[in-house]
């Protein structure tokens, strides 16, 4: 699971080692990546929203 999170984070950042990527695409289940991706995207949105709300006072 941790590997999935790491891979998704790498994808968010946009940089991933070719070897790791190959592994993900041969062994990983797509659904896991999609779910984690959506969750982490939500986290990112909430994070930015928190910053904005704090700055707005």
């Amino acid at each position: 699971m941790w590997n999935v999170v790491k891979s998704v984070l790498a994808a968010f950042f946009g940089v991933q080692k070719e070897r790791r990527r190959q592994e993900d695409f041969t062994h990983g289940e797509p659904i896991k990546f999609i779910v984690v991706g959506i969750l982490l995207a939500a986290v990112l949105v909430i994070l930015i929203a928190m910053i904005a709300l704090t700055a707005a006072g």
């Binding site: 950042f13 946009g14 940089v15 080692k17 070719e18 700055a55 707005a56 006072g57």
Partner: protein, 370 residues
């Protein structure tokens, strides 16, 4: 290849010229408020960041294009990944952006703080003029473009402030925090004066806030910046900033006028007085659509020889005061005074050979407004 070189040179020159051009007054004005200067510096900072990034990226690009031409025998490499470089060119822009976001946030926070205003002005957009109300002062007026149509059509030489002149500018005191409350009677307009760095939409049914503290007396010009119909290009904003005492004098004069007018509502007005006043109001408010000679245009009906209007004075009054829903005809009961409405109706019923001889008294209109 010569073409390539020409292009490279051309691009280089324009990139060098761009900043030079900016120095020559083609740039955003620095403006006359603290906020406008903050915005200007944000603008210039992000501009230079873009220039630097652009120069670096395009330098690498054009170097590659020049150096690795196949016509010069370049053999292609095969690399297609480099983690370190990729991490770097993701991280560095991210840091630059955070660096930009911080001052932008700070400036925005100040722009969003209208508290402690010395003066409130209600700005109402109408197709196609602005209405200003000095809240708690009992002073209000409309401000319409005063550039004559003969200049627009080119029959007459265009003046220095072509399209940027109004009959009644908004007068404001310097060094005071002025809060604007913006709304609209019809469609969305946007009130913009570049040198005050205030641009805010006027949305019908809602009120937007903005504020300004002008530091130098002067006349500042801007325009409506939200497409609002056919005369969108012809509703300029002019702000006349004055020293406090000058402003006070102006305000007192305006107040006296308003009071006199309020007191005169009940008296019987003469035809001539009403016609004179009506012509002025008509020119500033009605002529953009119904034309100076009352001939109308397109969807805007002619008023000269308009039988429905001439036969039915009550209908005429109702239309001017309450507007016609579903058409651009606005309700002027809210923005014009009873005297102005009575005057303009009288004018419309007697100008351009309409000659009904009808006189509509301000008191009648006052009754309708109540």
């Amino acid at each position: 290849m010569r073409a390539m070189l020409a292009w490279v040179t051309g691009m280089g020159v324009s990139w060098l010229l761009a900043p030079a051009a900016l120095a020559n007054g083609w740039n955003m004005p620095k403006g006359v408020t603290e906020i406008s200067r903050d915005i200007y510096s944000l603008h210039m900072t992000i501009f230079w960041i873009c220039v630097v990034i652009g120069v670096v990226v395009f330098a690498v690009m054009f170097y590659s294009l020049f150096r690795y031409r196949r016509s010069q025998g370049a053999k292609a490499d095969n690399f297609h990944e480099h983690t370190t470089v990729e991490v770097l060119w993701t991280t560095i822009p991210l840091l630059i952006l955070v660096g930009m976001a911080l001052p932008a946030t700070a400036t925005l926070q100040r722009m969003y703080d209208p508290s402690g205003a010395d003066l409130d002005v209600m700005v109402t957009g109408q197709q196609w003029r602005w209405h200003y109300e000095y809240m708690d002062e009992g002073v209000s007026f409309t401000s319409s473009m005063s550039t004559p149509t003969s200049q627009i059509s080119g029959e007459e030489a265009r003046g220095e402030n072509y399209l940027l002149d109004v009959d009644n500018p908004l007068v404001l005191p310097v060094d005071q925090k002025v809060r604007f409350l913006l709304t609209s009677d019809d469609v969305i307009h946007s009130w913009w004066v570049p040198e005050l760095a205030v641009k805010q939409d006027a949305v019908p049914g809602f009120v937007n806030e903005n504020w300004v503290r002008i530091e130098e007396p002067g006349i500042y010009r801007g325009q409506c910046t939200e497409l609002c119909g056919k005369d969108h290009a012809f509703m300029p904003v002019v702000v006349h900033a004055m020293e406090q005492d000058e402003y006070d004098e102006w305000l007192a004069e305006r107040k006296a006028e308003a009071e006199a007018e309020a007191n005169s509502v009940d008296r019987e007005w003469e035809m001539d007085e009403l016609m004179e006043r009506g012509e002025q109001v008509y020119g500033s408010v009605c002529a953009t659509c119904h034309q100076q000679d009352g001939s109308g245009s397109g969807q805007f009906p002619a008023l000269a020889g308009n039988d429905q209007m001439l036969d039915d004075v009550d209908w005429h009054k109702d239309v001017v005061v309450n507007g016609v829903s579903g058409t651009p005809m606005a309700a002027f009961g809210g923005s014009l005074s009873a005297v102005e409405v009575a005057a303009v109706i009288t004018y419309e019923r007697n100008a351009w050979d309409n000659d009904t001889g009808d006189v509509v008294q301000p008191s009648e209109i006052q009754e309708m407004l109540e």
